[in-house]
């Protein structure tokens, strides 16, 4: 680990690079994520954003909330747009035409942009080894178009294209293990983070910027509208996801897995691990699970979470 030590006291005084006046929903997790990510930047930075809530609501023409150079090109191509930015900067530097020693390039993509439509572009960019930080803000559905399922929607969540109906209890498929897939790309840095733990999040962003080559940070971004909870509970949801091990905090530098923050504490003291029910029952998208007929589905989710958590523990010990 290198670089300066980040502290909340210092960062609190740093000017926001995502300005107020944007039009993300009240209590939007993605807004918190983007603010925190931008707070952790370290110098000249260029941001590329995929189509989605974050892009749409921060740049409603003629307004923009971005105090850094920013580009949106399309839904599925933020990784390739960022590849071009990085390669362009590299070429300009080589030709002596860049006035900066280094410019950080950050790509933001939602779960739709990352798990689904933009997956190929990310895989390509990572295989080619571009020095970019890809931030997945995961609100677990296509929120901008009205809460449709994505490859990142968790099992049994009700969305508008995986509605909980009389015979089908929401989305039947598992959430894609996106971050592990990114580790398998053998990029130097992959991490998960939650806005409930801002210092952990910002430290990881900084690390992602410091490493040479691609970095990927998967950040849970609870969406009050899509998950159906009162906006005041956004951070609570982000915290519960970690405390229940639904969304553990870890990082993998050069493929070496390591738990961080609360997840590390839970590994040491398993009694701290909360039942998934505490997380699920707070959200309208899982409401249908809490009927007598569907109770067993909650148990099934608990089983899946336990299995994945145990697998992660093994990965952390192994490496």
């Amino acid at each position: 680990m290198s670089g300066e030590k980040l502290s909340l006291k210092d960062l609190a005084r740093k000017r926001d690079l995502l300005a107020p006046g944007h039009r993300l929903c009240a209590g939007c997790g993605a807004a918190i994520v983007a603010r925190l990510v931008m707070k952790a930047t370290r110098g000249p930075t260029i941001v590329a954003c995929a189509t989605g809530c974050l892009e749409v609501a921060t740049t409603i023409f003629p307004y923009t909330a971005w105090r850094v150079p920013w580009i949106h090109s399309a839904f599925e191509n933020v990784a390739s747009t960022a590849s071009g930015i990085e390669a362009g900067l590299k070429a300009l530097k080589r030709a002596g035409k860049l006035k900066y020693d280094h410019v950080d390039v950050i790509a933001f993509g939602g779960d739709g942009a990352t798990y689904d439509i933009g997956f190929q572009a990310i895989s390509g960019a990572f295989e080619r080894g571009h020095d970019i930080l890809y931030v997945l803000y995961d609100n677990e559905a296509y929120m901008n178009t009205g809460i449709q399922r994505s490859g990142g929607t968790p099992k049994y969540a009700s969305t508008t294209t995986s509605p909980a109906g009389k015979v089908i209890p929401g989305k039947l498929e598992l959430k894609k293990p996106i971050s592990h897939i990114m580790v398998a790309h053998r990029i130097p840095y992959v991490a998960t983070a939650s806005p409930a733990y801002p210092l952990d999040l910002m430290r990881k962003v900084r690390r992602g910027l410091e490493v040479e080559g691609p970095a990927f940070i998967h950040i849970l971004a609870p969406c009050p509208r899509g998950w159906r909870f009162d906006p005041r509970y956004t951070i609570e949801m982000a915290r519960l996801a970690v405390q229940t091990c639904v969304f553990p905090l870890w990082e993998a530098e050069n493929g070496k897995y390591k738990l961080t923050g609360v997840s590390r504490s839970i590994a040491r003291n398993p009694k701290m691990k909360k039942p998934v029910e505490e997380y699920l029952k707070r959200q309208g998208r899982f409401r249908h699970l809490f009927t007598p007929e569907n109770r067993h589905l909650v148990d099934e989710i608990q089983k899946i979470v336990d299995e994945e958590w145990n697998w992660l523990l093994k990965m952390c010990q192994l490496s």
Binding site: I60, Y233, T234
Partner: protein
């Protein structure tokens, strides 16, 4: 009153945005307002980090100030403040 919008010759090319979002006040979205009790605040600044708007500012004095021009009233800060220094009040 309808504002006269500029014509095509008078806006930047390429869709370059020409106004800062700060000119768009989101404070009127608010139904409940968070109100700070300075006495209780111990300057942990968590509310500043949790605010989706960046509407909770840390002043040079180290005090916290809520910018009601932008606060949308999500009340995350009220819910999260470990000291109960923020309270919600109906507008």
């Amino acid at each position: 009153m309808t504002e006269r919008l500029p014509g095509w010759r008078d806006i930047p090319i390429g869709g370059v945005a020409f106004k800062p979002s700060e000119e768009y006040k989101t404070g009127d979205w608010r139904v409940f307002r968070p109100v700070l009790n300075k006495e209780k605040c111990n300057r942990c600044y968590l509310c500043h980090f949790y605010c989706p708007e960046g509407a909770i500012k840390v002043l040079d004095t180290g005090d916290i100030e809520i910018d009601y021009d932008y606060c949308k009233g999500c009340l995350i800060c009220v819910n999260e403040c470990p000291r109960g220094a923020l309270e919600s009040v109906q507008e």
